[in-house]
């Protein structure tokens, strides 16, 4: 197990390095950040000075080498726009996105799995058909469209919750989060629901598919023959089997939730790193884009590692050694 984890961590470093090459060169062919920064009043000399200050007059391989040297010391460069270290900027915005993605994932699991279980166990009931129909709606509608509709309904018409922004922070066990205050919860409800919609649908469909398949399997028949209660069959045997694909996909989806939070954060003016990223992309703040992607890659590789370890716990047939390099 330890060997496996060490090996995977080394692979992770390789991946992060490869990614840095792709991202750095990819980001640097897009646009010209100088014109995003200088004031329109700037004359040619000011523009030339700005190009030099940002190091954009150097060949790209040299820029990359400087980036690598900095990265080795934990410095991913300074934001063009904010003048601050990009890494610090992202870490500042990270908690907001994490709590949003976490809330969305929780909503998806809490709402999605029970509904999917029901739809899988009673596929012919009217309620199940309703659940499946709404799950299709859930990912047929673009996130930004649903987001604004949610605001119009819950914030403007009903006035139950605020339309945009993040609420007051609370502190619990040393963690600061807006999830710990009532004001914070009222602010996070809509964006989390908006972000979760697609994942709720996915959880419903995966769970339903898994349950339907599992119910036809031999082990369920044996368990029935053994006289186990339906409740026990479902809660122990069926659930354990369907959890594998659900854990896989949900693990994957956490990364995509963070990626997709770009849209939700834009609509709900949520001060997270997704908003930071789209602003950085639109304003060509290259160091922030690169640093963001590096962090996401690292984060994602770690999630995969955790999912793989969870696999082995949930299903002993999948042995970790199998995947060794």
């Amino acid at each position: 197990m330890t060997v496996f984890i060490i090996r995977r961590l080394m692979q992770a470093i390789l991946v992060v390095f490869l990614m840095s090459v792709i991202v750095f060169f990819g980001v640097n062919i897009v646009g010209d950040p100088v014109y995003m920064l200088v004031s329109p009043d700037a004359d040619q000399a000011d523009i030339a000075a700005a190009i030099q200050r940002l190091g954009l007059d150097r060949p790209i391989w040299e820029q990359y080498w400087l980036f690598l040297k900095g990265a080795a010391q934990g410095d991913l460069g300074d934001s063009f726009i904010f003048g601050e270290p990009a890494l610090r900027l992202i870490l500042h915005h990270m908690p907001a996105t994490m709590e949003l993605a976490f809330s969305a994932l929780m909503l998806a699991i809490i709402i999605g799995i029970p509904l999917g279980l029901y739809a899988g166990l009673y596929p012919d009931s009217g309620l199940s058909k309703g659940i499946m129909a709404s799950s299709i709606l859930g990912f047929s509608l673009p996130t930004f469209w649903v987001g604004l509709m949610l605001i119009m309904l819950f914030a403007v018409e009903l006035r139950w919750v605020p339309a945009t922004g993040r609420g007051d922070l609370g502190s619990l066990l040393g963690i600061e989060s807006s999830l710990f205050t009532l004001d914070g919860l009222s602010h996070i409800f809509l964006p989390a629901l908006n972000l979760a919609l697609l994942k709720i649908s996915l959880a419903i469909r995966l769970t339903r598919a898994g349950v339907r398949e599992a119910m036809g399997q031999d082990y369920v028949k044996y368990a029935r023959a053994k006289g186990l209660s339906t409740r026990r069959i479902i809660s122990v045997h069926v659930m354990k089997n369907i959890m594998i694909p659900v854990v896989t996909v949900m693990g994957l989806e956490f990364g995509s939730l963070i990626g997709f939070s770009v849209v939700t954060e834009t609509i709900f003016a949520w001060p997270g790193m997704g908003k930071l990223l789209i602003d950085a992309i639109l304003q060509l703040d290259r160091p922030v884009v690169v640093a963001y992607l590096m962090i996401i890659v690292l984060f994602f590789v770690l999630i995969n590692l955790i999912v793989d370890i969870l696999y082995s716990i949930l299903d002993p047939r999948v042995r970790l050694q199998d995947q060794g390099a």
């Binding site: 014109y35 700037a42 004359d43 523009i47 003048g83 006035r159 004001d183 001060p271």
Partner: protein, 527 residues
């Protein structure tokens, strides 16, 4: 949370009444784009300049029409050809209680062009100027050549404190300790992406604000900003999308405040390449660049219905443009009218220039920079296609667009042939667009830096340069007007319209709309 605030307000309503007129009132404003720092010299950018104006004052103030008013300087005048004298206001205190005097100004002028990591420096306005302290309340600025725009340039610089600000880093300003000015509001907190909170400066030297506390919240998505106002999250929003103006007008709970801006939207045409990359003969063959012919440029101008753009695309929220700045600004000409829409005349003029069947070209424009920019480009293309110039449209994010439009072609030349751009005159007078858009591109002298069509007319250049040396206001006004008339006569650029900016507030509030597009809490009044 608004609801909670509202409830508290009701609960403590009686107490508030007892407290009297100096009531504690909070104003929350939703901004379209947020500042990148609270350091007033870090980034020369609209949102930064507007936000820092709450905390810091400038020597020369600009009112909502960008006319110059006394600020921390009570008066200024040229005392000889190359020296301007500024008299400073006495008895002004910084937020930390220290006194304002000439030392603060001198150190500010030294710091402003030299902020480390600054994305866009204020050095642009201070180049070639030296500052000298005469006594505690007198300052001299010297230049090598006679320079008329001294007060305009100085009005871009916010004054920081000698004690707390001049040696501080940008971070110190963002965190608060250095955010000490003489302005009407004091720093409370700054959370990037989330909120900026300030409280009233009870000892302000000027007109005391009516709001005891203000909060700015960035809400970049237009419909979300409108929804936040409707939901009561914020009291006022900036940059109301044109699409929502009609419904908001009909909404009794909302007040709209509108005003024309200093920003002109215009078309620039390639006037320097014999073969322009995005101009083709009918069918796609090569063609000698027709845009070099002033008759073709005139025809294009006549083929564009400014009224249609204003009424249909901008939903009435814009003014048709016939020159570089709207009337009322210094240096505009009173002889220029908006070019009349005349598609038949345009066709005739194209035929006269040798293009009876038109030609093909592509209009390039940004899709996230100006109000309805992509739709305007499309409308222009539709109108040109109808007179025979088959025009394709390509719009792109500004991050890609401006780099390519400025130096994306061969030899770092502008890449496109026919582009849609905007220009906001930060100085509030006509030399700003004339110098940067119309004057021949000249890197050594710093002229024509945004002349992406590379229009060049020596006589216009001479007028502009003379204006920039003329300190006498009446003479300069005349020179600037002449230069503008000549540029429009030569169709150096084709102005289409001036943007009109809209702010929306809850009922009972109104905003003194500003031409510089700033959103200032000082301008929010109760009706």
């Amino acid at each position: 949370m608004r609801k909670l605030t509202a409830a508290t307000a009701v609960a403590f309503g009686i107490m508030a009444m007892a407290a009297g007129a100096a009531s504690a009132e909070k104003l929350t404003i939703g901004l379209a784009s947020e500042p990148t720092a609270l350091d007033p010299h870090f980034h020369n950018l609209g949102p930064n300049n507007a936000t820092t104006l709450h905390i810091f004052d400038r020597l020369v103030d600009q009112n909502e029409k960008q006319q110059l008013l006394p600020g921390l300087a009570t008066s200024w005048k040229p005392i000889n050809d190359t020296t301007w004298e500024f008299k400073l206001r006495e008895g002004v205190k910084f937020h930390d209680g220290s006194d304002f005097n000439a030392d603060d100004v001198v150190c500010t002028i030294e710091r402003a062009p030299n902020v480390p990591n600054s994305p866009s420096s204020f050095g642009t306005y201070l180049k070639g100027k030296t500052v000298e302290k005469i006594d505690d309340f007198t300052i001299h600025f010297k230049t090598a050549e006679p320079y008329p725009l001294m007060a305009n340039d100085i009005s871009t610089i916010r004054i920081i404190s000698n004690e707390t600000g001049c040696n501080a880093t940008t971070e110190d300003f963002n965190a608060g300790p250095a955010a000490v000015g003489t302005g009407p509001f004091k720093f409370v907190s700054y959370t990037p992406g989330e909120s900026i909170v300030m409280e009233r400066n009870e000892d302000y030297w000027g007109k005391k604000p009516i709001w005891s506390e203000i909060e700015f919240r960035p809400i970049s998505s237009g419909p979300s900003r409108v929804a936040s106002l409707l939901a009561g999250d914020v009291d006022m929003i900036a940059a109301v999308p044109t699409t929502d103006i009609t419904t908001l007008k009909a909404n009794g709970d909302v007040t709209l405040s509108q005003g024309v801006s200093n920003r002109v939207i215009y078309l620039h045409m390639d006037q320097f390449r014999e073969n322009s990359p995005f101009v083709k003969a009918n069918g796609g063959g090569d063609i000698k660049n027709p845009l070099m012919d002033v008759r073709v440029r005139k025809a294009i101008s006549m083929a564009i219905s400014r009224d249609a753009i204003v009424e249909r695309v901008m939903e009435g929220v814009a003014l048709p443009a016939g020159q570089l700045l709207p009337e009322g600004f210094f240096g505009v000409s009173d002889k220029l009218d908006v070019v009349a829409y005349d598609p038949e005349g345009a066709k005739a003029m194209l035929a006269e220039a040798g293009y009876p069947d038109g030609f093909e070209m592509t209009i390039h424009g940004p899709n996230d920079r100006y109000i309805n920019d992509a739709k305007i480009a499309e409308a222009v293309a539709q109108m040109l296609t109808r007179v025979g110039i088959k025009t394709a449209v390509e719009t792109m994010p500004r991050s890609v667009y401006f780099g390519r439009a400025s130096r994306g072609g061969e030899g770092d030349l502008p890449e496109f042939s026919f582009i849609l751009v905007g220009w906001g005159a930060g100085s509030g007078e006509a030399s700003s667009p004339l110098k940067s858009l119309i004057h021949t591109f000249d890197a050594d002298k710093g002229f024509g830096s945004s002349n992406r069509g590379r229009h060049s007319d020596l006589e216009t250049d001479a007028l502009i340069e003379e204006a920039l040396r003329t300190v006498d206001d009446a003479k300069r006004q005349e020179l600037l007007a002449q230069a503008t008339e000549r540029a429009i006569e030569n169709v150096a650029i084709i102005p289409t319209h001036f943007q009109v900016n809209t702010w929306a507030s809850r009922k009972g509030l109104k905003y003194n709309a500003r031409t510089d597009e700033y959103t200032l809490a000082m301008g929010v009044e109760k009706e």
